[in-house]
């Protein structure tokens, strides 16, 4: 009889182990999430700690999250994996890959959202939709750094159209938000909107003085039209939209305080 009991127990354990095997990939994936988080932390602190090489960390995360790896994950995890990959690629400067990963991620969300609609308004959904805007902004910054104000003067229309595209992506991401979207993701959207708007204003400031007025007025029109369907609607000018984004973040929130700091430094 004790042998029989041991046998039942062993079978129970075996069955449990078989069922739990699927959890192993999930546990491994949690490690990747932790790597990503470390990379983001280093990235955000980079300006204060200049010798940190965050690009490699991001590249490591993106390299881990291959399409084949992601395909093996549970359906519910795939959108997040694509998000981590897309964000890592954006930060690592792999802009084309980032756009492709964002597309894949949104497809994965569409699949999961068929069963669980709240995924459509999730943090990952909002961020993946923002990626084209974030990438466009990063590309322009990289170009400005490489080619200087002369490039702005020579090819401002190019800059203008790319900022317009960035704002379109932000507007599209704003449209994803519902009551299922966490407040922190909304504040992130406001912060990034403020940052991209200010980057555009900075770029305009690099133009020769006699072209700045017209460029500013054009930017105002584009901002008002592009962000007219977002929570920034009603702002008639670029600075007004940036101000509205700033004020939409609660007083005392770290993003709000960072903005205050950026405005003064």
């Amino acid at each position: 009889m004790p042998i029989l009991r041991r046998s039942i127990f062993a079978r129970f354990l075996l069955a449990f182990a078989l069922a739990a095997l699927a959890g192993c990939t999930t546990i491994q994936y949690r490690d990747v999430q932790s790597q990503f988080e470390q990379a983001v932390r280093a990235d955000n602190e980079q300006s204060s700690q200049p010798f940190t090489d965050t690009t490699k960390r991001y590249e490591g995360v993106a390299a881990e999250l291959t399409p084949a790896y992601i395909a093996k994950l549970d359906d519910k995890l795939q959108p997040n994996a694509w998000t981590l990959r897309a964000v890592s690629e954006w930060r690592a400067g792999q802009f084309s890959n980032a756009l492709q990963s964002a597309d894949e991620g949104l497809n994965a969300i569409a699949r999961v959202a068929q069963k669980d609609p709240k995924f459509d308004a999730s943090r990952d959904s909002v961020i993946l939709t923002m990626i084209p805007g974030l990438v466009e902004d990063a590309r322009l910054r990289q170009r400005l750094q490489a080619l200087g104000p002369q490039d702005v003067a020579a090819h401002y229309n190019d800059y203008k159209e790319k900022f317009r595209n960035a704002l379109r992506a932000l507007a599209e991401a704003s449209g994803k938000m519902t009551e299922a979207t966490p407040p922190a993701a909304r504040y992130y959207w406001y912060y990034q909107s403020w940052r991209i708007l200010k980057n555009w204003q900075i770029v305009i400031g690099k133009l020769p003085f006699d072209r700045q007025k017209q460029a500013n007025l054009q930017a105002d029109e584009i901002v008002a039209a592009t962000l007219g369907d977002t929570s920034l609607r009603g702002a008639a000018t670029l600075p007004a939209a940036a101000d509205k984004a700033e004020k939409a973040i609660p007083d005392g929130h770290a993003y709000r305080q960072l903005i205050e700091l950026e405005k003064r430094s």
Partner: protein, 593 residues
Amino acid sequence: MNPELVLFAIEAGVKLGRKVNEVLVDETAQRPLLMPLGELCGSVEEADAMRFFAVEHAELCEPGGPCFEIRDDNARKLTFYRAMLGAETGISVCSPDPAARRLELIRGLSVLDQFDQQFQAKSPARRIFGTVVEIGVDYFATHPEAMGRDSDARKILASFVAGLTEADFAEGSARQVLADLLGAALHAVPENAALVSDDQRLRVMLSGVTGAVADDVRNAVANQDEVGRQQLFRRIGSSLLRGSAAAFAGNVDLFVPNDESAALIKDTLTQVFDGVRGQEDLFTNDSLEAIFKSALRATAENAGLLTDKKVLQELVARTTTVLADQQWGRTFSKATAGAVLREALEVTRENIETIVDPKHPQQQLLAQALAAMAGSLSTKLAGGGSIQDLLSHRQVVDLSKLVLEEVARHPEQLLAGGGSDPRKAVLAQVIASVARALGDEPTLLTNGEGFLRLVRTGLRVTVNNADVLVDTHSANPTTNLLFGILQQVVSTVGATEDPRHLINREVFGEIIERVLPLASANLEKLLGDEPKLVAESIAVALELAQKTLSHRIDGANLPPLVAGLLVRALWEELDLDDAEAVKAAALLILRAA
């Protein structure tokens, strides 16, 4: 080896493994994460300055303007801008150590949740525990013999499980409560051996109870009161099951074991839960047990009338509101509220025809009665105390029962006049008249038990002559003729010397019982030229007892003597001032007594 057991072990293992994985995936998918901030292309302040000169104050850089010469010199324009801003704001715009502050803020950045809090998956521990419960439920549903052959626990568990086949313990918010209920059932239900032996009835009863609790908890989740309700059901689970089992076992003919009975139990309990909602602390576990039992008995006997239109819920809610109402002072407390509510349910059950008008089922006569009673009892006496002080907890309940029963018999008469102020109702006026007539030291003449007796007499006499005995236009009981009559008795008894101590509380109560109906039925003289006949009759009787007939009168025949003298005086057959005639009449009365 039992192959079924092996299969169960495999199924259980897979089920638990799947649930663990599912929880892990959900937790990972919605893991809060930090996101990158990104960079700015340059100085925000400089960009603001450039726009300032290009758009907002373009005139500064126009020919002839103060900045025309420096229009292409961004550094100098920035200095000019800063100077202007400084002049405007009057404060320094520089942070002492921006880099350190920035690092501090960045390190304090919070992570981003995947979903808003209300859309996040339930806590992992709860979900896994729920699955374990599910497995246990599955196991004992298929292997009840594991609990001991023919044991009560086995039967209860099997019935419990059978009634819960549709419930999803793992995800449902009622899961924890249901698990507690199962424990409570195992402890409480075996007290009803007859019920335990009848599998079908047991199942229907448990199904009704758990269904009501599950519905309530589900609603609590929607109303964000989940924790509060869970705590409540943990407290009252045993009482709920004991009360339900007692009602079910004691009414074999009424609770036929079918789905309708289960629905009736569920509906009744739901109405009680809703009725006492927010006032649960007013009731002890024991009183709730009695309330559940009475409510179930009442609805079993009057299902159509009580369950339709939520009449029971209304009755419980209105009564509970009165019981909890602080304006009535200390009349009702945790020690009495439950018993009073139970009495209300019992009186309703026994007097459904007079208590619930099918045309106006929402009328709550008993709640009105309790409010009237409480209002009259809370009246302060001149000495600062109140009649409440005279009554023990049990007597408050007894008085409530008495009042409710009398109101059930004569609702129209006793609740008349109490429309806007329950203290003006006939019922309240009777109680207040009795209380006020007893004076500022009621304990000299009566006790709690005696007070109840006087109220009963007052009520029974008044229902036959309410419009004359009671003035419902005023909340002041001293305007009532009833008060006047009672006060004559009290003041005479109090003022007359009684060296033989003939008048004890019993004798006093009996005098009232005899005098009051007589006076009510013969008011002509009292309302006419002889308003003090009651007092005079008592005074004459007491004088006879002290003097000329001291050896023929004791405490036992004093009340009939008072009544006999009074009736003769009221019928003008005796002049109380004629000592000889009084003595002769008294002897005849005493002989007859």
